[in-house]
């Protein structure tokens, strides 16, 4: 229980306007969205004895399968319960889904952590961001199993909320979502400016900044190797310009160049180039002509 208290103090989720601040706002029959669970219908209040304590709880039923969800009254605001989005909010989500996607985050650790936070505290737009981000990533390369599951989960949450908000069956809602994500060839939507993406407040102690030299762009996974010469050239240019600003602009590359090359990843291209320049060993050079000569020789002998 101690751990829970400390966690609650440090990790207060971002409160959106649609979030429910207090249990008093809820009444039986209300539809709410429980992060990571989906749309639930409030059944009522009930008291439960748990670990010798009498707790007052809100009972809800998950609409998808009727599973019971119990939330202590005191935890209603901290678990991130929120009202089902309105039709207008859903429309703006569709404009966001159909807009040109930004480059996906390539560092899987950062991506996964951000996605988890968005699903919990980002509201319907946060869920849409996860769906769109992973969908655009899947266009570049197949998603690993964990992210495929995360994508399916997020998509499922989005589809169920769209279905409830627009009052359509789930399969139609899914068609609408896919129509926005994968428009048929030749389709052009009249898009409004998409809403601002949700800013996720991740506690500072959980945000580990990667060291400058170890910045992983995920290029190895894609099979792309950066040429080693690029960094010093940029550094030289920056020095020629002489300005402090120019130095700052080129700082990540310059910092990398100043650092001694790591034997593992950075030295790879250099090693390959050196191998290409190196003359072939004498034995190898001799072996090839010898074979031909031997063939010719043998033939000559026969003649």
């Amino acid at each position: 229980m101690k751990g829970h208290t400390r966690r609650d103090e440090k990790e207060q989720p971002t409160l959106l306007p649609s979030n429910i601040q207090s249990a008093r706002e809820l009444k039986p029959g209300d539809r709410v969205v429980y992060p990571n669970q989906g749309v639930c219908r409030v059944v009522g209040l009930e008291q439960k004895d748990i670990a010798g304590q009498r707790l007052e709880m809100i009972r809800m039923n998950r609409e998808e399968d009727g599973a019971a969800v119990l939330v202590p009254m005191a935890k209603v605001s901290s678990v991130g319960l929120r009202r089902v989005s309105t039709a207008d909010e859903i429309e703006s989500v569709f404009h966001f889904l159909a807009a040109v996607s930004a480059d996906p985050e390539l560092d899987w650790k950062v991506r996964h952590r951000d996605n988890v936070e968005r699903l919990i505290a980002g509201g319907v737009l946060g869920v849409a961001e996860v769906v769109k981000g992973l969908h655009s990533l899947s266009r570049i390369r197949p998603l690993p199993t964990k992210e495929r599951e995360q994508y399916d989960g997020a998509r499922h949450l989005l589809v169920s909320e769209v279905a409830v908000a627009l009052g359509v069956p789930g399969n139609l809602a899914e068609d609408y979502v896919d129509h926005a994500l994968n428009p048929p060839t030749g389709t052009r939507f009249q898009l409004k400016p998409p809403p601002k993406p949700i800013e996720i407040s991740i506690p500072a102690y959980r945000r580990k900044k990667p060291a400058a030299g170890e910045e992983d762009l995920g290029l190895d996974e894609l099979g792309i190797e950066l040429p080693e010469e690029a960094a010093p050239a940029e550094e030289e240019e920056a020095q020629r310009e002489g300005g402090a600003e120019a130095g700052e602009e080129a700082s990540p590359a310059a910092r990398d160049a100043e650092k001694p090359a790591r034997p593992g990843k950075a030295a790879k291209p250099a090693r390959k180039a050196a191998a290409a320049r190196r003359p072939r060993p004498k034995a190898a050079r001799k072996a090839a002509p010898k074979k031909k000569a031997a063939k010719g020789g043998r033939g000559g002998k026969r003649k």
Binding site: H95, Y176, H179, N182, P184
Partner: protein
């Protein structure tokens, strides 16, 4: 069991190909029950048929628990437009429902050559697997080679695959195992 009902005359070879494909995809017996009339109530002013309404109004087929019914039509279908307009409607079915309808109106023309007939059959079989898949709670799939990939996606080639990928196959097998019968 999957029961196939035609809402217009279809070639026997096409029906045989669809039943065989459905059996391979879901491991369930599939049979052609017969032909029914299109319900006039589902027809809209633009000469299309409303997908959800068609399934409500069409004359029922005798089924047992967990049977699925697939209606094959040639008329164009429509659905309620979404926030960005109406997606192309190749068919309609509800998750976990009992009935699905597939239309051949948006498929490549059947033609008379062997190649065009084969292409038409494969596409019809793909859409049949797709909408019966929804009846077994399968959702759309990311993999463009899977039959559950959205039917209008630009990632689908001229001859899209009509098989389920391993992810969807596992899910459908699990659902079928959990079914009452």
């Amino acid at each position: 069991m999957i029961r196939l009902v035609t809402l217009a005359p279809f070639d026997e070879g096409d029906i045989a190909f669809v039943t065989r494909t459905l059996f391979q995809a879901f491991g369930l017996g599939t049979e052609h029950v017969g032909e029914r009339k299109l319900p006039a109530e589902a027809e809209s002013s633009d000469d299309r048929y409303d997908g959800p309404k068609l399934l409500e109004e069409v004359s029922p087929v005798r089924t047992f628990a967990d049977d699925k019914v697939l209606y094959l039509a040639i008329v164009p279908l429509s659905m309620k437009p979404g926030p960005l307009g109406e997606p192309p409607c190749y068919g309609f079915s509800r998750y976990g429902g009992e009935r699905a309808v597939v239309s051949s109106a948006l498929l490549p023309p059947r033609g008379v050559t062997e190649a065009s007939i084969e292409r038409f059959r494969r596409r019809l079989a793909r859409e049949s697997v797709h909408y019966v898949g929804h009846l077994w709670d399968l959702h759309h799939c990311l993999d463009a080679r899977c039959a559950m990939h959205p039917s209008w996606s630009p990632l689908l080639g001229d001859d899209p695959g009509f098989e389920l990928d391993s992810f969807c196959r596992d899910k459908s097998e699990q659902r079928i195992r959990l079914a009452k019968t």
